[in-house]
Symmetry: D3
Subunit: 143 residues, 6 copies
């Protein structure tokens, strides 16, 4: 088993659930899940790029199918995580300091959709950056 | 809306998925999800304890149903997260340093089952401790 | 089997999936699912209100558990449907005509959370109204 | 932990998936899953009957919530399993020998709904019998 | 991002849940979800036909994987929606007016399976027609 | 519709859930689900091997995507089923007779991961053998 396939194997392995939002009364929310999912989208684009496009070897074709599926799922995870924190954690008073919060959230979701539809390293990098920006706002409000 | 119900509301809100295991090639696994889930089990036991057992008020009865459901789901999350890291991350060479790894994992799963079946602060604390121990081993192997 | 339990039975029966968003190229999105889910939340609050709170009859207690679960699921459906249309259908040009779209969406999500946490006919009515308002905007942009 | 709660604990534990239908080319379908689920519905009705209806002890109330949930899920499993075999396994030629197959399937589904809505040992026994009858037809066609 | 990929993107976007069956006491069931899903199956067959079969471009190959997955899921949705209405909404008295209801339902399910297994515009059109026929019967009984 | 595609069609059809573990008090657990899933992994590897690797026919390419997906899902089922029985059924006293139980379970999970990552008849056969061995131990403890 190659290093490559072993690594991909881990990626497609069963995912476990964590919370983007508080589930203990002290209010623990965490955008780390969204960031990790965005990073995974980028990595999938990278891995797809390493597959010889013209190859008809079954191993290559299987990697392609698995990478596309993982990319799809993780772009969806980004959307879900960010939306949960936005609607459940953020309160009206946060909007004073971050008046464009709604627009930024919207942008993350749009970028996630774009990454589902394309295999595009630039779009993946933009998604990672947008999630980081959202994450920075989140943590700034926790200070 | 009371402070209590607002907090519980967050807890039952949609959960988002993160990975207990590596999904980028550099091998990122994280038992933080298991720890958070175990903590949630404890918190649910605590919240259930605060509900007046004899109360027939619908608000109290609803809280009870929701807390039991959350406890059930999070005990299950603990089982899943720990099992994934155990089977996907740990390698035979780790067993030399931690020969009782298998037994410890088994113990976590048994404790999670016990917490599903009971409303028992002691069992919840044991689950948190067992997950912490598993987590400590995990991080020790990452050094 | 009473008329009551037969009706509730239908409600808890398996749900089937439809799309809040376009899945054919002509761009079909539909907020009808969100409206139906909000209506169901209201109905559950109504049904819970009809159960004798002090009753210890198992039939009554079962109805309570089932109604709370259905309410929880449908409040979640409202959140998901509205968020999908908001992120996938609406485009920047729509914001000119509806500059408070983001705020309205946020409000729907907050109301859905409130309805999870409470058994409150007033909050349920507000949720229905907020979804209707979102729906009206949606259809206005389709003209 | 009592014998009772330990047993219930097992019941609510994570379920694993098997196939009611052939997933290897030699055509392996199996109604055993439907039968086991119907049996579980019966058992849940029995367990609910053993709980002191008027008890306000949290342990009793938790058992009630868990048993109702398990009953609901297993009635749903019955519906799904039977429907899959009916639509995927049975062929027009089987109808000659079993002209009332469609009616029998319909009856199973109706009984499963009835068991969701009620806590009724009689209805549960009827469901078990109906699934057995369906199962007998299935196996007769395999001879 | 091409018009094509944008449209496909919408199709694969997260689906939200609506009810094929009544979940308010006045008995609202709706086969619209089944019809939309059948239409989506047809559209996927059409989109797959537009992809250059011999192309090794990753964009083309990704579209293929996504379209096959969407087709699979929507054929499944058709099966589930139709089965729910059949078992939960229709009552024995409806069979007098529509004695071949069971046969028609069975036929829809068989056609959905055929569409999973093949990329066949004719089979997709038959599925749409069969669902429409089922839908017509449904609405006729509501008059 | 060819014999081949009809068979595959069944395989990808909706799966129904059964229990690897006891859900009636007399303690019924059954590793049959794990064995069937392992067999399915093998069969998928076989079916993939029968597809002309260089073919660009859409029918062939669709079969490939579906087989890879089914293989992925069933390798996951193996992991889940075995883990449930291991943690929920086996008790400390079983370890005396089977001191390497933990190691054997771990091995099954590792093999399942390997089968996700590869299209490898040898690895699939090993998985089937490892599940059989686990199953034999299970049944031996039931005597």
């Amino acid at each position: 088993m190659s290093q490559f396939s072993r690594r991909l194997g881990r990626i497609v392995a069963p995912r476990t659930v964590v919370h983007a939002h508080c589930d203990v009364p002290c209010g623990i929310y965490d955008p780390a899940g969204a960031a990790l999912a965005a990073k995974t989208v980028s990595r999938m684009v990278e891995l797809i790029g390493q597959i010889d496009a013209g190859s008809t070897a079954v191993a290559d074709r299987q990697k392609f199918v698995r990478c596309v599926t993982v990319k799809e799922q993780h772009a969806e995870i980004v959307k879900h995580e960010v939306q949960v924190i936005w609607s459940d954690y953020f309160k009206p008073e946060h909007l004073t300091a971050y008046p464009d919060l709604h627009t930024k959230v919207w942008n993350v979701l749009k970028l996630a959709s774009k990454n589902k539809q394309n295999i595009d390293a630039e779009a993946a990098a933009q998604l990672e950056a947008a999630v980081k920006e959202f994450s920075d706002i989140f943590w700034a409000t926790k200070k």
